[in-house]
């Protein structure tokens, strides 16, 4: 039982702070430092750029193959792909690198951090590059990706990875219960009734499962429901909470009733056991994304879009460009444009099973083969069109998510009714949004 002490956390905190402090210094002296550090264009005219990614295994192989292809075809721009040690710490590592003055030209950043990274003076906002470059079709990216990459109108990055939520169900349990499989015509009441029928306490069997650790995982599952019921998270100007609207109360009441009245939901407050429980055949339906499918080898599963209006939620990540002088920014832009193009992405997705980041990938010759290779993916691809909204890209979102998470879990555990819980979370949210200068 080796312990992480408060001291270690403080050390980590200080390192992070030093990173930002260094970033400030680098920012102040950037005009001179920036111009003096340009000569990565060596006398031979070759521009060297670096890309940090979080891929391992076959995904890293796919990255490297693409980079090799680029380097062969473009002797003037040499790209080096470097593993960042895992995307969970990509933001801190990138900031530390910026502080040190030697940082990559392209770095993978979770979409939820877009509003944080945009504060860094080294981040290249892409609006001008996109506007000037006619060969780059920004609108080919899914709407949810474009929304998530945009902070206050500034485009922070090029979409790197995308996913969404749909219903994944255990066919055997549906057959045993004499139920027909979920259809696209399902209402939320249909889902609730099916979950109830699939529940059998004697067999420790549940109709549905819900991650209830009050994290963003708890929250985004519910946000899809909220949108589907016609509600929204904040007002369009991001000044006020609206998730406690009648639609929000209705959506959360439904969820709460399933958990506490029907008892048809396996509520996992630790959010560690749902995948294995589904794979063991104890859960009829999950709402989850394509990344979970490889975790269900023991279950014959089907995939269906969300009930009623099919609203889903997407969590896209971005390639963020950092400023190492105009020459390298231009080189990074040329490369990332090529890298995120439909043909290259189709290759990547075939190797990894990731969803297409561009809509036009569906017209790629390999698209059919790709769908055949990854069963269930077809529904998730089609479902991208149902991801029309995005979470607010504001730095306060992580706090707001915390308030919403607590509200959802308190209802799931029967500790509060939906209206009371959401009203309280809305009050806390409004207080956070009222703080100026964020």
């Amino acid at each position: 039982m080796k312990r992480v002490t408060a001291g270690m956390l403080t050390l980590l905190l200080v390192l992070a702070a030093l990173a930002s402090a260094g970033l400030v210094l680098a920012g102040c002296g950037s005009s001179s430092a920036g111009s003096s550090s340009t000569p990565s264009s060596s006398p031979t005219g070759v521009v060297h750029i670096t890309m940090w990614h979080g891929d391992l295994d076959y995904a890293a192989k796919a990255d490297n193959a693409l980079v090799a292809e680029w380097n062969k075809a473009n002797p003037n721009i040499e790209v080096t792909a470097v593993y960042n040690g895992g995307n969970d710490f990509a933001l801190q590592k990138t900031l530390t690198a910026i502080a040190g003055g030697k940082y990559p030209d392209i770095t993978y950043i979770f979409g939820s951090w877009a509003a944080n990274i945009v504060k860094s003076p080294k981040v290249v906002t892409l609006n001008d590059l996109i506007a000037k470059d006619k060969s780059f079709d920004w609108n080919d990216f899914w709407p949810a990706e474009r929304l998530a990459a945009t902070v206050n109108g500034k485009i922070v990055g090029v979409p790197a990875l995308v996913d969404n939520l749909a219903i994944v169900y255990n066919k055997k349990l549906f057959d045993q219960a004499g139920l027909s499989y979920p259809t696209a015509q399902w209402t939320w009441d249909d889902l609730r009734a099916a979950a109830k029928k699939l529940t059998d306490p004697a067999k420790k069997q549940f109709g549905w499962a819900y991650p209830a650790d009050a994290s963003e995982d708890t929250v985004w599952h519910w946000e899809a429901m909220l949108w589907d019921y016609g509600g929204d998270i904040l007002t369009p100007d991001n000044k006020q909470a609206t998730f406690n609207s009648p639609q929000g109360v209705q959506a959360l009441t439904m969820l709460g009733d399933m958990a506490t009245v029907d008892k048809s939901v396996y509520v996992d407050t630790t959010n560690t056991k749902i995948q294995s429980t589904f794979n063991n055949g104890h859960i009829g339906m999950l709402v989850t994304g394509p990344w979970d499918l490889p975790g269900f080898p023991d279950v014959s599963f089907g995939v269906q879009v969300m009930p009623a209006n099919h609203q889903t939620i997407s969590g896209p990540d971005n390639w963020v460009l950092l400023d190492n002088g105009p020459e390298r920014v231009n080189a990074a832009w040329q490369f990332i444009k090529w890298f995120t193009d439909a043909k290259q992405q189709m290759y990547y997705d075939q190797q990894t099973g990731a969803l297409p980041i561009r809509q036009s990938q569906q017209q790629q010759p390999d698209f059919k083969a790709y769908l055949g290779k990854y069963p269930g993916t077809d529904v998730f691809v089609a479902n991208m069109g149902n991801a029309t909204k995005a979470r607010p890209t504001i730095p306060q979102y992580s706090k707001i998510s915390g308030f919403m998470g607590t509200a959802i879990v308190s209802v799931l555990l029967g500790k509060s009714d939906a209206k009371t819980a959401l009203d309280q979370a809305a009050q806390q949210t409004n207080a956070v949004l009222a703080v100026p200068g964020q």
Partner: protein, 301 residues
Amino acid sequence: MSLHPGSRAQRLLGSDHLAGWVFVLPAAVLIVTFGIVPIAWSAIMSFQANDLVSPPSWVGLANYKALFHDPAFVASVRHTLVYTALFVPLSVAGALLVAWALNRKLRGVRFYRLAIFVPVVTSTVATGIIFLWLLDPVFGLVNFFLGKLGLPQQGFLQDPNQALYCIVAMTMWGWLGFDVIIYLAALQGVPEELMEAASIDGAGKWSSFRNVVLPFLRPATLFLVVWSTISALQLFDEIYVTTRGGPLGSTTVVVFYLYQQAFQFFNGGYAAAIAYVLFLAILAITIVQLKVGGRRIYSNS
């Protein structure tokens, strides 16, 4: 060498000082870099609004003032105190009991000692996952046996009213072995002849334990109480791998709250203020413990 007797340089080079400093230099550099500097820097940070990305600004005592009006922080202090008040006496007393039981000539005593110590060297992540499944309300073994015995099913880590106590039980299981080793060593230091003398004087088992063994164990007890208190006040790992502060914040202890503020909400300055308040609290508690406990050792020896 003796040209300038008494000169500073001569004293430094000629004496053991230089060798001494050279020997401690690597450790000193490490301590300064990873100990002193962060302590000083986090003190500075605690007076800043610092989101770890954009330039920090000075806010004076605002972070500290906000702390005492933050119900979530106050709740985390309460959880930490409840945890410490349970964990420290239970684990120290439990360890004494186990050590006493293992300090006899039993068949297979080595095996029992090993069994008690194994959890200490098991990774917290493994322990956490084992307890998550043991205590699962639906699929867990513990509820299965409760059911067999006709007892009501419990929520354990999923129940806001029980989760903190489950964490106490889980960490006791994980840490008892360490305390037991310390006590075993101390018990073996109790002189045989004193025990014999006590029994000749007609002291019973309990009486000789109370009047001979316990006083001998005081230094070990003081060490364990101080050490367990410090680690209990800094509880983090076990929370991080199991409940993540939930359900509904019922296991959010001070260090976990610090983590959330720093790395989930990016409130660097606020997190540093929490770290400082915790540091000062631990310092104060430890001083009191050493004063009180130390006095008793001296008066008895």
